[in-house]
């Protein structure tokens, strides 16, 4: 039972990060139908900015906010520089451009901070844990869950402000029409990318805390959050949260209970498990748990 609880907490912490990443995908997708493959690199960037700020002597909480803000600005900058000129082009183009923006970001991160891993500063002892109902939970895991929940609530409040919400929906449906109605399409895109960057930084910071370290490959974690986006439904914020948490839990539980029963095939099985879930969903429920189906009229 203790192992189970422990795994659950670990899964929850991982799931919060997945949920945040998925949220970053969804918020951009909802407004501009762009799937941001560069998000993973924003995770890494956020982590490194955080380390740099702490090294500079900025107090931890301020550094956290600063890192989120700066990464958000980088996100908004990418939107302005690269994606704005592509408004109105096919999905294909935007998918590819974000992949390559990600590659550029990755090169730049390597250029500035180099390839060797660094530890993420924490305000608590990184290897310390507390005992909750008999399970050992790392402070970092607990911190991730709390920070995630706080961010999600703040996010929820923002998105439900009528103007931003309706503006995002209108923009996503048809940019030209939205523009003609006086909706500042550019600013809406910019703010969604800012939000995506900021939550990605938060996810990146908590993901690279103990026991993991921060290095330039952190971005690949975002690839593992794709399944959460699909399972939740591409344009559903609720879906991102539910599926992110769920898949994080499933992944950790699979690692704990399933891998060993699959023999050779089970080695690292938990890493592909979310993809298998995703494929099943795409076949049987392509719009995910909460995604909307588009209205098609000929």
């Amino acid at each position: 039972m203790n192992t189970f609880l422990q795994l659950c907490f670990g899964g929850l912490a991982l799931g919060t990060s997945y949920a945040l990443i998925a949220l970053g995908f969804v918020v951009v997708y909802r407004a501009s139908q762009v799937f941001n493959f560069a998000l993973g690199e924003l995770l890494t960037l956020g982590g490194f900015v955080m380390v740099a700020l702490c090294d500079f002597g900025v107090p931890w909480p301020l550094a956290l906010i600063g890192a989120m803000g700066m990464t958000g600005l980088v996100g908004a900058g990418i939107e302005r520089l690269v994606l704005r000129p592509l408004i109105g082009r096919q999905v294909f183009v935007t998918i590819i451009v974000t992949i390559f923006v990600g590659m550029i970001l990755r090169s730049l991160v390597l250029l500035v901070w180099g390839p060797s891993p660094v530890g993420m500063p924490t305000p608590w002892d990184p290897s310390a844990s507390i005992s909750l109902w008999g399970a050992n939970v790392f402070y970092s895991a607990l911190g991730a869950v709390i920070a995630g929940v706080v961010t999600l609530i703040g996010f929820w409040w923002m998105i439900n402000k009528p103007r931003l919400g309706i503006g995002m929906q209108a923009t996503s449906s048809n940019q030209e029409t939205a523009l003609a109605l006086g909706i500042p399409v550019g600013r809406i895109f910019g703010s969604t990318w800012f939000i995506a960057g900021a939550v990605a930084a938060l996810a990146g910071i908590f993901l690279s805390m103990f026991p993991r370290n921060l290095d330039s490959n952190l971005g690949f974690v975002a690839l593992r959050a794709f399944p959460a986006v699909i399972v939740g439904g591409l344009d559903s914020i609720r879906g991102a949260v539910v599926a992110g948490l769920g898949l994080g839990l499933l992944e950790v539980l699979a690692q704990g209970y399933v891998n060993e029963h699959l023999g050779q095939f089970g080695h690292n099985f938990h890493t592909v498990f979310p993809y298998l879930v995703m494929v099943l969903f795409l076949v049987f429920k392509p719009h995910g748990l909460f995604g909307t189906k588009e209205v098609e009229r000929v």
């Binding site: 309706i166 929906q169 209108a170 048809n174 109605l181 909307t292 588009e294 209205v295």
Partner: protein, 260 residues
């Protein structure tokens, strides 16, 4: 209140569409902009609403002023805030959004306090929309979508409404409804610039009309005068059609050489 003088525009840096277009919309008036496909009617509207640059076009010459404000180079958002609203060609409602969300999107630049009053006002005016307010707008019929598009444009409390082909693809009965609505709108004090192919309807509604062909103004004047013009009758109003049926239209072929 709207003054367009000597407007010239290009697309993609090369394609000249407007070659010196001038027109005026007086306060509270209905002005029609007529002309065949490709004459530059939609381009004129885009230039006024600041939407040219997203189509890779730009104004190269001339000026557009609205109540003394220069509109050239302004963002579409700023232009809507000045009080110019557009009903785009082909209705362009947001199909996945509900009727109410469509209307709310239209009210983006309006003060939020008035929102509920406005919604009530339009629901009383268009009972069909009230009935379907929580259903996706994509399932409305063509006529209902047109009503929604007009209502949505009015949500921002414009003083000038630009309409691009509001009668396109609508049944005669609905066209009449739209025409009645336009008259009502102008009675409420909103000026209207009406871009149309349906010249009969447009000349009926408007006080003044401008006719564009290949990017130039070829005729303008009071609608009454234009209605009596022989060329207009032949080319735009299809007056000959009462006598010659479509079955008997002369049919000649221009042989073309194998090009390209």
């Amino acid at each position: 209140m709207l003054e367009v003088t000597n407007l010239e525009t290009v697309y993609h840096g090369v394609l000249r569409v407007l070659r010196g277009v001038s027109l005026t919309v007086p306060d509270g008036g209905v002005v029609a902009l007529l002309g065949p496909n490709g004459a530059g009617k939609t381009t004129t509207l885009r230039a006024i609403t600041g939407m040219l640059d997203i189509h890779e076009g730009k104004v190269t010459k001339g000026s557009i002023t609205f109540d003394g404000h220069n509109l050239v180079g302004k963002h579409p958002e700023a232009i809507v805030r000045l009080g110019i609203s557009t009903v785009m060609e082909g209705r362009r409602i947001f199909p996945e959004l509900t009727v109410e969300e469509n209307l709310r999107a239209g009210a983006f630049v309006a003060p939020p306090a008035k929102l509920n009053d406005d919604l009530d006002r339009f629901y009383t005016r268009f009972p069909v929309l009230a009935e379907r307010r929580h259903g996706p707008a994509g399932y409305l019929s063509g006529g209902e979508q047109q009503m929604l598009a007009i209502a949505r444009a009015l949500m921002s409390h414009p003083r000038l409404l630009l309409m691009d082909e509001p009668s396109l693809g609508l049944a005669p009965k609905i066209v009449k409804d739209v025409a009645r609505l336009i008259t009502e709108i102008s009675k409420d004090g909103v000026s209207v610039l009406l871009v149309e192919q349906n010249a009969t309807m447009a000349l009926e509604l408007s006080s003044h009309a401008t006719i564009l062909e290949t990017g130039k103004v070829v005729l303008e004047g009071a609608s009454e005068t234009l209605k009596a013009d022989a060329d207009i009758q032949a080319f735009y109003l299809g007056m000959g059609a009462d006598k010659t049926s479509f079955r008997d239209v002369k049919h000649y072929r221009r042989r073309k050489r194998w090009l390209s």
